[in-house]
Symmetry: D4
Subunit: 171 residues, 8 copies
Amino acid sequence: MPEVAVIMGSDSDLPVMKAAAEILEKFSVGFELKILSAHRTPKETAAYVEKAPGRGVEVFIAGAGGAAHLPGVIAAYTILPVIGVPVKGSLEGLDALLSIVQMPPGIPVASVGINSVKNAALLAVEILALGDKNLSRRLAAYRKEMKKEVLARSGRLSGAGYKKYLEAMKK
Amino acid sequence: MPEVAVIMGSDSDLPVMKAAAEILEKFSVGFELKILSAHRTPKETAAYVEKAPGRGVEVFIAGAGGAAHLPGVIAAYTILPVIGVPVKGSLEGLDALLSIVQMPPGIPVASVGINSVKNAALLAVEILALGDKNLSRRLAAYRKEMKKEVLARSGRLSGAGYKKYLEAMKK
Amino acid sequence: MPEVAVIMGSDSDLPVMKAAAEILEKFSVGFELKILSAHRTPKETAAYVEKAPGRGVEVFIAGAGGAAHLPGVIAAYTILPVIGVPVKGSLEGLDALLSIVQMPPGIPVASVGINSVKNAALLAVEILALGDKNLSRRLAAYRKEMKKEVLARSGRLSGAGYKKYLEAMKK
Amino acid sequence: MPEVAVIMGSDSDLPVMKAAAEILEKFSVGFELKILSAHRTPKETAAYVEKAPGRGVEVFIAGAGGAAHLPGVIAAYTILPVIGVPVKGSLEGLDALLSIVQMPPGIPVASVGINSVKNAALLAVEILALGDKNLSRRLAAYRKEMKKEVLARSGRLSGAGYKKYLEAMKK
Amino acid sequence: MPEVAVIMGSDSDLPVMKAAAEILEKFSVGFELKILSAHRTPKETAAYVEKAPGRGVEVFIAGAGGAAHLPGVIAAYTILPVIGVPVKGSLEGLDALLSIVQMPPGIPVASVGINSVKNAALLAVEILALGDKNLSRRLAAYRKEMKKEVLARSGRLSGAGYKKYLEAMKK
Amino acid sequence: MPEVAVIMGSDSDLPVMKAAAEILEKFSVGFELKILSAHRTPKETAAYVEKAPGRGVEVFIAGAGGAAHLPGVIAAYTILPVIGVPVKGSLEGLDALLSIVQMPPGIPVASVGINSVKNAALLAVEILALGDKNLSRRLAAYRKEMKKEVLARSGRLSGAGYKKYLEAMKK
Amino acid sequence: MPEVAVIMGSDSDLPVMKAAAEILEKFSVGFELKILSAHRTPKETAAYVEKAPGRGVEVFIAGAGGAAHLPGVIAAYTILPVIGVPVKGSLEGLDALLSIVQMPPGIPVASVGINSVKNAALLAVEILALGDKNLSRRLAAYRKEMKKEVLARSGRLSGAGYKKYLEAMKK
Amino acid sequence: MPEVAVIMGSDSDLPVMKAAAEILEKFSVGFELKILSAHRTPKETAAYVEKAPGRGVEVFIAGAGGAAHLPGVIAAYTILPVIGVPVKGSLEGLDALLSIVQMPPGIPVASVGINSVKNAALLAVEILALGDKNLSRRLAAYRKEMKKEVLARSGRLSGAGYKKYLEAMKK
């Protein structure tokens, strides 16, 4: 059963949005990917969102570019948390960011950074982990892993010197 | 019968949006003013838009601030022309402008400038005038009137000199 | 007879502006393409605009980049609807957008998004469709087609899974 | 026991941040308000965040202006969801928005709009409602209430006409 | 005989644009002030610009806000130098600045800063001074005067200390 | 004898700044190209600027990127007209534009658009043409040539149709 | 003997720049305040900067608005550290920030935030403290004081509740 | 012993940050390069910063992109000067610049320009040179060298003409 619904307005966003799928798979969180447009399929989008809780969905992740209305439109039809991902297409993604984050009072959307699909998925995992100790443990382990990786790199940089490290990076 | 539907997301936009009513009254174009939110009343908005053509509406004017989804959401439910007015609330209105103007391919919105409600109404009149010679004549007369006013002011400025003209402006 | 005049300031805008021609052809709307500059051929531009209604033109589409004055200059000479397309050249197209959309009160221009030529043409079709039921039907059909396409892709994505879908996209 | 920790970098943010308290009280969600600075009290902030889960905290709301590091610094010390509120102080709040929303991969922050404290609190309520059916019902009721209010205003506007409505607004 | 034509699109720009008149009077440079709009009086603007050289005009100063087309439209009708002044009205004047400064290749406009009317007039004086040694001497004297004033203030600040200087400023 | 001094802060700006040389050569206006930095060679820059009038220089063109101080620093040492060219290097050239155009009252710089070196040179020619009827005639002829070129292209576009015209452009 | 030279381009910056004097007095660091303009007194500025080390100056603080060249021009004449303060005047201070911070390679300026004069002075103190243990101790104590103040306020907020705290703030 | 600690949030910043190492080597200033993240290794970062003075560090250089918290977080744990380098990753580096430069009062960070790692290192050298006459002499020599290089290029440009110079640049 999908706990997270990952929605994008167009399949041209899929190369960016796939990172959400990868993170959710890594954490064994059920999800489904949908192409639904706030403007081209407004009724289908509304219908999908309203039925989603009945199918187990607890969190929405929605990515869109330009006048990125999708996360806000989803939020209009649900009281589940909606995470918006501004997808860079024009104006360095500033249009998408502002269209997503500047929601009017009453209907919140949780925005992550431009193209930050990975963080959108991690935020969904954090939210789900509130009710799932196992998931919470996996998140903590993931953080530890990241920390270890940073420190390992710093150690290798100290050991090798920056010139050799840069050469190794190119390989 | 309303030919133009003027919609705003919140009554806090009314002091700005009323200028549309004033222009439409001046041109004797039927209109109705509605408060409908893309996020707080999504279904009522959709229903209103879908029924509007049956009641005579030919053009929509929609004003909103921040993540201004209203014009785009209206456009999703109609093939009538939708004119969007970015209402300044935050970020000098840049967020509203980008949220309105950067629509994805397939579903156009006609954006006017930030808080340019008067121009939104005039654009609606221009569109309606394509099928109404009387309206077209009134538009042409309106333009002439504006021109005369500019030239009259320029004449007064030349006559009085800038110092006296400025004093007169303050009165 | 051309119903839509598509004007650009320089032939360097043609690779972007041609999308208007393609849409108008698709809808069997008569149009003509002109290169006319607000700055290099101001009189010829004015003369063309003033004579256009006599030749059947009902809507103008004008694209320009940088200090994009062309749509506003056209609007100064006509009471027909003028649709402006900000063409991206510098500053991500923000200069063109603001030069087009921020028109002073009295002379409206309908701006679409940066490089959104397709939407400019669809907006012109929407305007013309107010007086042409046939065109209106074709617009409605076009919307349906778009919707079907989005849903078909979403179906294929669900069916194939995102990895296979992405592979198929690359082909 | 506090379920939500509302943290601000300076008491000068309190007039804005108090809206979070008001929403949380309305939904009977336990919370505590803290003044903790990412830069002036970094250790106390870290210590507070690390101990917070043990005291019942499930969601953080952090507001800050300028180089708004507070939400990101909190997120560095917890795997609980962190909601960031960009507080407008300079540059129309754009600096705070970008400092909060553009987090690096791995450590998410959920950003709401500039000064959108109310939405930050509602987002926290949405997250908590995933594990609390009562809260979920109250959220749904709140949405209904908002919808009714919008429609009531639209009705009053239709009834009174915009001139009388505007006069009534001033009172 | 006017050597400088100072043109503005609307008399609402006069409180800003009058500084040009004050500088030109100070340097005894003949000028005339006109209200002419690129959009509301396009033909009168064109006619005025084309006749101006015959009446002695050598430099144009044009101020406008928003989609500030006036300087560019003037430049389209003359080979005399055109100085553009972006007048702040919306978006902190950024729209006017970009509309003025980002002219296409072939038709230059000399932009000064936002609301920098004084500098526009001084630039006109610098240009005229190339052919007028007397004017050149007055410009050099003006610069010296400015320098003396700065140094005098610095001296007073050193003498009085910043606290007393600030008190004196308030008086 | 050089009438125009074309100065750039670094030879990395030469590929952009060379367009000034080409225009000035086309108009047979004497010029010299110099690499002088406001920051790395401040004294040599000041000395050069102060001596330039004695060598015949009447107009300065200065190009710089980033914190583009060069035009303003030159203007501080001369009462001759200084034309600034913002060279795009970072932030799409916005930093250079603002650093050049936003000069304080008293010391004007005439800014052209980002990378608009050609227009900087044409502006210099317009200024010099005030005292040189021959140059003035050449400028008028140049404008006519531009106009003819635009109209010729528009004619070819009408004749060939946009598809063939685009194909011809690629060749 | 002045260790820090605090320079501003105009006495209109003094109400902002005085905060530097207050901090330097608090830390008993010798300083002098000067009004010197990069554009109106370029030679006097250069001369002052070159002589400053001989009079004991070790750090420069320079504040300016708009095309804020002062810090960069000072840096051109010294190898002492130069701290630049963007003073907000137009465009929310973004022009001043970019004009100060985007220096070309080779001549650094240390920028603080818009109007962050206090931080400029603290940065100067940090730099001087590298060679002055006493000053270093005072800085550490200042930090402790700030921390205590933040925690005291947080305590008062917890104790009084946000409503009473807000009331107390108004008094 | 390292006098300068050069810290970056991720090894992906190393290709940019290495320029700091090159400058510090050129001036024979001891330094060490570390990968430490404000968000992924907050405690290790804090611990490193607190111990750094004991190991000889006198200045920190920290580079980061996006929501660039690293320099500010370092500054929270030290009273040594912290130099921040905004690394361009998204939004042309504007997000990183604002996240670094707009620090709250009390905790300064010295920002250099976007990707201006070289200037960050030179600023560190300037600071260290206050207590090291030898270093000061080397800095003065470096400046002289830069000046000579600029003048040499200007000479070559004058000698060869711009066409040959450009050809030579391509080789």
